[in-house]
Amino acid sequence: MSIMMCLSLVLLILGLAFVASNPPPYFTALGLVLVAGVGCLALAILSGPFFSLILFWIYLGGMMVVFGYSAALIAEPFPESLGSGYVLGLMISYMCLVFFTAAMVLHFYDGPLHLLGEISSFNMVQKDAWGVALMYLCGGVLLVLGALVLLLALFVVFKLTWGMSFSVLRPV
């Protein structure tokens, strides 16, 4: 399990560095899916499988929209990701930054990241399911308020995108 955790964290950082180093949008979306997947894997190993499942579904849904949008918008005949020197150089520099930060953390707090120490793969109680139950039990007003905020976000998006010829989104 510890190896899985290590692997997912390393993949998470590699994927984030890849996304941050400006590859073409197709590969960026792919990198984001990878990051979401391994992030959810790490969360699931840290005894939060329900949350990681929910997050993964919602994130994948959003990513499909992002991927479709960017694929429709960007006309790039020959996309190249790590093959181009620009992206590769940026990624290498980001990884150098990560190693520097990790070295600083190790230097100052002298010890490994203690995420790795908290893994217990034989949990009888799912902490996250317990938390969800508690949220639905006590946090009724808060949930309604959260739904209200989402409704507001929907209205804002409607207002922003309404009107084909004079609004924000228009054919160029």
Binding site: L142, L145, V149, L152, V156, K159, F166, S167
Partner: protein, 345 residues
């Protein structure tokens, strides 16, 4: 924009700030800030020209970043100490991150450069909301967390950079943004020493900014050049405007002197001599651009018969009563200072 949408958005704007002001829990405070951001976006983009869209996009990105950082700091705090309450941020790391996030939201000095740019793309009314109402929620959160001398550093940089940035501007909205940065710096300077004084500074700043924005709205000006013809449009208002500007700059018989006076006194009481001196000297930078505004508006006009004809004046549909009230308060509230010492509140 249809009136119903406008009403909904304005109401939601108030609701967001109220939620943040009422909350004791970080999640609710964050939610209120997000409601605030979401609700002002349709108001900002109302005119649909590219500059407004650009300003709105910049505003949204900055505010989303700040809110995410705030949420990150709150969860970090909950992870480290197990406490979700706003006043229970004791660990230095989340405290610093929260302070930085909130100052990014308000546009304090090292994180200020979005504010003039966003303000320049908005119309004056929305700019007024951005400069006053949008500061309330982050301000209240910043007041509640136990902070160190870090806010004094932020305040001092805000005063200096707010003064410097406004020096070479010709656009009124950018000048107002830099003036907002400098005034927020004064509030942050005294926030840890005497929070009630900081709140009073915010109130006085809101009153002064409200009257100045109203003057610009009545004149329909957005740069200094067109301000110089305002004596043809509104003669009486033009004679009063330099006083408003000097009040913003903080000159003695006017209301704007009140917060600066009390803040300097409080800082000297608590042995911050160097900081108080630097703040007082940097206020001169702000005073310079206020003076330049008033010079262009009134002092260049010779006191004899103008060669121009007076421009045609229709019935003024602008907000007259609030402008008159806030201008009177901007000019004449200093003698009411002893009221603040009375146990009325």
């Amino acid at each position: 924009m249809s009136p119903l949408t406008l009403l909904t958005m304005a109401f939601t704007l108030m609701l967001g700030t109220t939620i943040t002001l009422m909350s004791t829990h970080w999640l609710l405070a964050w939610m209120g800030l997000e409601i605030n951001t979401l609700a002002i976006i349709p108001l900002m983009i109302k005119q649909n020209h590219p500059r407004a869209v650009e300003a709105t996009t910049k505003y949204f990105l900055i505010q989303a970043t700040a809110a995410t950082t705030l949420l990150f700091a709150a969860t970090t705090n909950a992870w480290l100490t197990g406490a979700w309450e706003i006043s229970q941020v004791m660990h230095p790391l989340p405290t610093i991150i929260i302070t930085m996030a909130l100052s990014l939201k308000m546009g304090l000095a090292p994180m200020h450069s979005w504010l003039p740019d966003v303000m320049q793309g908005l119309e004056l009314k929305v700019g007024l909301v951005l400069a006053t109402w949008q500061k309330l929620a982050p301000f209240s959160l910043l007041c509640q967390i136990p902070n160190s001398n870090f806010t004094i550093l932020l305040g001092l940089t805000s005063i200096i950079l707010g003064g410097w940035g406004g020096l070479n501007q010709t656009q009124l909205r950018k000048i107002m943004a830099y003036s907002s940065i400098a005034h927020l710096g004064w509030m942050l300077l005294v926030m840890q020493l005497l929070p009630s004084l900081s709140l009073m500074t915010l109130l006085v700043y809101i009153i002064m900014t409200f009257s100045l924005f109203n003057i610009f709205m009545i004149n329909k000006t957005t740069n200094i050049n067109s301000l110089s013809t305002s004596s043809m449009k509104v003669p009486v208002l033009t004679t009063l405007t330099p006083l408003i500007l000097l009040s913003l700059g903080g000159l003695p018989p006017l209301t704007g002197f009140l917060p600066k006076w009390l803040i300097l006194q409080e800082m000297i009481k608590q042995n911050f001599f160097m900081t108080a001196t630097m703040a007082a000297l940097s206020a001169l930078l702000s005073l310079y651009f206020y003076l330049r505004l008033s010079y262009n508006m009134t002092f260049t006009i010779a006191p004899n018969t103008s060669t121009n004809t007076l421009s045609w004046r229709l019935n003024n549909k602008n907000i007259i009563l609030p402008t008159a009230t806030s201008m009177t308060m901007t000019l004449l509230m200093l003698p009411l200072l002893p009221l603040a010492a009375m146990p009325l509140f």
